[in-house]
Symmetry: C2
Subunit: 593 residues, 2 copies
């Protein structure tokens, strides 16, 4: 079993040298942006994830969580590791200092989250969900609820969950049936929720469920749904725990992966009704839930490439050990890493991870900039982060799965044996393109809400920025070739967007939403690679001790652009030419079944 | 759980109307080519796989095979189903009538194998391996061995295995250490073999292991390996079973998928030495083993898309049932099949399966034509089938895995729950790109032995044939668009091959072997789609009762070409431009670790 090793050099290069972490000065106090503070957080996180979280990862897979007498028991060592996690202060890294958080930038947090999930995705799903719940409460709950719940949740002594899905209401939340009935200063909740990650567990004394439900007189559909805070144990006014709420853990799912993370079916109100407190206004639950969702979507994008990093590390280590045959040009038997097909594959994996990392940190920077005191910076970054969130979620998870798939391949037959451990990453990763909105949902969000709604304004602004980078890059001889490839990809993206905005039927537009999302993913990561290359070119001529580092980076980035970015052309062809499905009823005819 | 339904209409269309099953007249007796016989075999096979094999598939996954007191016990119902399998005569479909086989064409057999593996890949792996062993014995064993072993193996009352791999010798068989020592008219075998599929089981009384081993005085490397027949029980001259041979089942692997198929570690000669019989000449074992391997590689290619067909059927059925939201253009809630992204995805899956099926049947036809009484047909088909085998194996399994991945996606959260069953196909399929030679090995075989060795002669002949089809297709208005796309793909393929044959370093050639294999896979399936389209165009104008069938096929084929074939351009760009890795030692520098 491979232990995780945080790729600190790569992370720090992106944060400091490429994305200029210290440039967030309109958003955070200067002392929070100190680069030494940043590095020491990263180093501590590396230490913690490598030594505490990673060694438990396989145990979690093998033992899983169990439901015993109506209570979830997590795998051996998980409870203790979670305790260390909150003792280390990791839970409240970006939360509001008003309630005990550390208020650090999302850029830094993204890097720490990457390490969490790479080391132990099943365990760190718990704080991922807690963070989403904290954000929704921070954003919309009453002062009273905030004071009562936020300090414990930010500390991590209580965890949070998201209760959206019901058997008949998955991607379509308008079908939610869970009922809420007003009773003095609280509500009574009745209904069944499914797919509740860490819906029950033994990490902490209390769990704070955020639950979507419908009031008796609510309008039908999405505009009649309210959000409630429903604690596992009621909380007295002095903060101590009161009686058990009327919530039952009915069952936990037997899943393909993330075995250690309990996915619960929760039943609310089997007896007297579960007591819940309204968050925000009645019937405005969906808007608030989207606060949680967007935070969680970003984090799941990070998960996608984080678990891929772990799989890559395992594959790299195996290919460095396993000897088979004589690589071309070698007169002695060498590890398989030196065979051209294996080397090519590993290089591709490493650079795809790097590209997803860059995309995620860049998106995190845009999320940070939404706090800017400068209005234009604020507006610009809000628009950009809205555009990027579905791409981060979908692209990084799709590519992450590809990488886990290919990592098994690099192990050959050993990859298929569970003992090796790499199959776990492959199984675990599979959920990331599904939960918090499938790739299809992300693609529809991107096309509908982020491109069609403003008739392409936000995306055209991005295209212009890419064009400007290209003008700069084309002046530099060693970047001319990749600039040309990105230029072509930009043309493909423009043609595709214009086609989808102005031509073709509504049904056909959405038929190609995923093609467009992937095209933009390759284009944007190509562009970010070019930005990264520009930094390398300018620094390698003036740096002595890191000259080799920059040269190596530059070769890798060039590889990425040449090998992968030309795919944009194929997506464009499909988008522009493929108008086979005429309308929704057409699929029956063409499938012929 | 979805039960398998054999797609007979699609299979029959390809066999009869497109690939002209009855045109094998120089290879088989006329009565074997009777189309009614062919259809009745297909229909019987459909019935058997749907009613007997498919219902056991999930049981096999859940129970797996177990090693109890040194003996493998297979899952409930498997032994009985295997008995029905051999009683139905399925085992000897293509084997020589001299030893009780039915001598039917490989084209027909490919279609039946597809149904087997779609319905229950874990069970039918057993006859897949037996068939490979039969072919090696038919090809190279002495008359005495043939008479003693072939009738039972063809009947299926004894099964066969392939014993190649040892811990230190996987893809590189030259590292084999298992010893064989001559002793009167047999040999004694000593050594450990791993990854032996159905190395032990309870289906039959006896198991015939084909084992690679090295004689004491053998030359080093690949030219010093011999092939031995080593039965689990020795066989007396009257055909009755004698004493247990010195073979021990040390353990079985805990795998990601195909749980029901026991993957064994076998130890030969722990005591007095296992008795084995030489097949063919000493030190010529690898050549004979490649007979088995090539048969098995073709069959694994079929497995790849067969399991994908099962996953697709499950996804289609789920998307027809599951209702979420209002598809664009519909005023009522409808199943998710009618959402554009879901419809688009399903259509892509169906057509990729169709393309892989066509590729496999076409390759099967070439395998059949090697028996032709016409020498030029014989030579042509040998060359073509050599070229196609690595593409069938690698392309159909890579695409098959993609399809299983996407089928989970179509289930949303339910896909991640093991109960649904679709996760099993995803896990099972994962081995297909690995065993019988990884995708990397196939790509190296294609590039080195099938393209570089004859300096492109065989591949150029294929390109000329594609060109001729294009000339014909361009005359037909409704095919003009897809002909244009295939024409571009052909240019990409030619440029890529010429580049790899004549330019660039040997190391760089092999760096792009997989890119080339995938490019050729998309081009050839595009070309075959065009052939299929030509049939549809000509038939739909003269057929009344099947007009709609041809039109629907034509729309689908057009979709395939437009949506997927343009990928060839991206592979070509990578092949022609990406010369980042200079030689084998370069990977260390560029990974920077």
């Amino acid at each position: 079993m491979q232990n995780y090793k945080a790729p600190l050099k790569d992370i720090q290069f992106l944060l400091h040298e490429v994305l200029e972490y210290d440039s967030l000065k309109n958003c955070y106090d200067q002392e929070l942006l100190d680069s030494e503070l940043c590095d020491s957080v990263l180093e501590e996180c590396a230490k913690f994830t490598e030594s505490v979280l990673s060694p438990l990862n396989k145990v979690g897979d093998q033992q899983g969580s169990k439901l015993i007498d109506g209570k979830v028991k997590t795998a051996e060592g998980f409870k203790q590791a979670y305790q260390q996690f909150i003792n280390g202060g990791w839970n409240g890294l970006i939360s509001s200092p008003d309630y005990g958080g550390q208020g650090l930038p999302i850029m830094l947090s993204a890097a720490t989250e990457e390490m969490w999930h790479a080391a132990n995705m099943s365990l760190t799903l718990c704080p991922l969900l807690t963070r989403g719940a904290i954000e929704a409460i921070e954003f919309a709950a009453s002062k009273e609820l905030k004071v009562k719940f936020l300090p414990k949740m930010i500390q991590g002594t209580w965890t949070g969950t998201m209760n959206l899905t019901e058997p008949q209401a998955g991607s379509d939340l308008s079908a939610i049936k869970t009922k809420a009935i007003k009773e003095s200063n609280h509500y009574r909740i009745y209904g069944q929720k499914i797919y509740i990650t860490y819906g029950d567990h033994d990490f902490t004394d209390n769990i704070v469920h955020l639950v979507l439900a419908r009031l008796p007189d609510a309008p039908p559909g999405i505009k009649g749904i309210s959000l409630f805070l429903v604690p596992k144990y009621l909380v007295n006014d002095d903060g101590s725990l009161g009686s058990l709420n009327d919530i039952k853990t009915v069952s936990i799912e037997h899943k393909l992966g993330i075995h250690a993370s309990p996915t619960c079916v929760l039943s609310y109100g089997d007896k007297e009704g579960a007591i819940g407190y309204l968050i925000g206004e009645e019937n405005r639950g969906i808007e608030i839930m989207f606060i949680m969702m967007n935070a969680a979507r970003f984090s799941v994008g990070v998960q996608g490439y984080a678990i891929a990093e772990m799989a890559y590390q395992a594959a790299l280590s195996y290919t460095k050990e396993r000897k088979q045959g004589f690589p071309i040009g070698s007169k002695e038997p060498l590890p398989i890493l030196y065979h051209p097909d294996v080397a090519q594959s590993l290089l591709g994996l490493k650079l795809k991870i790097n590209a997803c990392r860059h995309l995620s940190y860049y998106a995190a920077k845009m999320l940070d900039l939404r706090r800017s005191s400068d209005d234009s910076e604020k507006e610009y970054s809000s628009q950009r982060s809205d555009l990027l969130t579905p791409i981060v979620k979908a692209f990084c998870t799709e590519i992450g799965n590809e990488i886990c798939y290919e990592s098994i391949q690099l192990f050959g037959g050993m990859g298929f044996i569970e003992e090796t451990g790499v199959a776990q990453y492959y199984r675990d990763a599979r959920i990331t393109t599904i939960y918090e909105g499938t790739t299809g949902i992300q693609a529809n969000d991107l096309l509908g809400r982020k491109i069609l709604r403003d008739e392409g304004k936000a995306i055209r602004l991005l295209f212009t920025e890419i064009e400007n980078t290209l003008i700069e890059a084309k002046k530099i001889t060693e970047l001319a070739k990749i600039a040309l490839i990105i230029d072509e990809a930009l043309c493909d993206a423009r043609a595709s967007c214009e086609h989808l905005i102005s031509n073709t039927t509504l049904y056909n537009k959405y038929s190609h939403a995923k093609d467009l999302l992937m095209l933009l993913g390759w284009l944007i990561t190509g562009w970010l690679s070019l930005n990264e290359s520009l930094v390398c070119v300018s620094k390698k001529s003036i740096s002595d001790n890191k000259k080799e580092f920059y040269s190596q980076k530059l070769r890798g980035l060039t590889y990425y652009v040449i090998q992968f970015v030309p795919q944009c052309g194929a997506f464009k062809e499909a988008i522009v030419n493929n108008l086979i499905l005429k309308d929704y009823s057409d699929i029956d005819q063409i499938l012929g079944e």
